[in-house]
Symmetry: C2
Subunit: 219 residues, 2 copies
């Protein structure tokens, strides 16, 4: 069962616990753009990403978005199973950023095993600490970094994820990642274009001068 290689605590489970997980395990495929989980839904369960890309974000009352973290192959999404802990009192929305194949461990199954297994509980602690680190990084970005640096960082990160300098990204998408307005991103990208760092065309941002973007991001 290939799943075992994605769930690193597997070998520390009892046979009974392994059976319960195998019995409950669901394999799903989501198309790019699908909302996999949101705060109003039932507790979806733990998501283990076989391949693809997910984005976790929060929404304002006015419909603004900001990306909290992104998940890639072999990552695990805990907050889609927020009901496993009563102290998780916030909602995130999880969206497939690419076509994604994943396994779901139902929340009730996971919760019952976590309650009896120190290994699984400590594994969960490490998962949550990883996301906590992501979120603390985000606060530092929002608080201490100007938007030009954050846009530069985002474009460089996208180029690294996509392994391409030609990024299929609307200004709206960038705004939703960074928690700002489309108009603000358009203005910033035009400035980047005037400085020779990027070239803009419909639905595409092409990075022309990576070194200059890196310099801006770090200065």
């Amino acid at each position: 069962m290939e799943f075992e290689n994605y769930f690193s605590v597997w070998n520390q489970l009892t046979t009974n616990q392994k059976n319960r997980i195998q019995k409950g395990l669901i394999t799903r495929r989501f198309e790019k753009g699908t909302i996999i989980h949101n705060g109003n839904m039932n507790c979806t369960g733990l998501l283990l990403i076989k391949s693809g890309q997910l984005r976790a974000y929060i929404l304002s009352d006015e419909g603004r978005e900001i990306t909290i973290y992104r998940l890639f192959d072999r990552d695990i999404c805990l907050f889609s199973a927020s009901c496993i802990m009563r102290s998780i009192q916030f909602d995130v929305t999880i969206e497939a950023e690419k076509d994604t194949e994943l396994w779901i461990i139902p929340a009730e199954t996971y919760k019952s095993i976590m309650e009896e297994s120190a290994s699984v509980s400590n594994y969960t602690n490490e998962l949550m600490a990883t996301r906590f680190t992501d979120v603390m990084w985000l606060i530092e970005q929002i608080m201490w970094k100007s938007l030009d640096k954050r846009v530069a960082f985002f474009l460089l990160e996208e180029a690294s994820i996509e392994e391409s300098d030609e990024l299929k990204l609307t200004h709206e998408t960038i705004a939703n990642h960074l928690g700002t307005h489309r108009e603000v991103i358009t203005r910033m990208l035009r400035y980047f274009q005037n400085e020779g760092m990027v070239k803009l065309s419909r639905g595409t941002v092409t990075i022309l001068d990576k070194a200059k973007l890196e310099h801006l991001q770090n200065e």
Copy 2:
């Protein structure tokens, strides 16, 4: 031993585990203003607050501050023991906001018990989830709330903590809580004063119209 009443997972420990905690336990008293923990220090350990008030904050390279969460009687500070999990890759500074009495469970003691006890590990999960909820609330505040609402909220929160409308607070202190500059807070408080919501005098902000502040905060 009074400590047992503050550490709610106590009754789920084995006798051996109880003995190890009792052996390692340290009682400390910190004066208001003391930095109890910062990222450069060794891993201090888990702090259980008997009485007093702590503030956890992060610092920018330029020395700006923002409060991440505050802890009161019976609260427990986990991130002063960040070495218990390798995935906690961020630093917070912990300061005594008031004279504070607390117990310290040394990090190594706590870690070894957490590794063997599902109860303690799940307890730790709940602690971290509580702080995660605090931090997600903070992101929402920073992202979607204007500063006037955040200042109003902060003053009302302080009045509730202090059970007084006469708050001994410098503009600098408020700025450090909210992650902004003193000058910005001074300007905001003068606006509040012109609107009849507060009265300013040296080192003191007196709330004159709580209903109006509450209205501003919620509108």
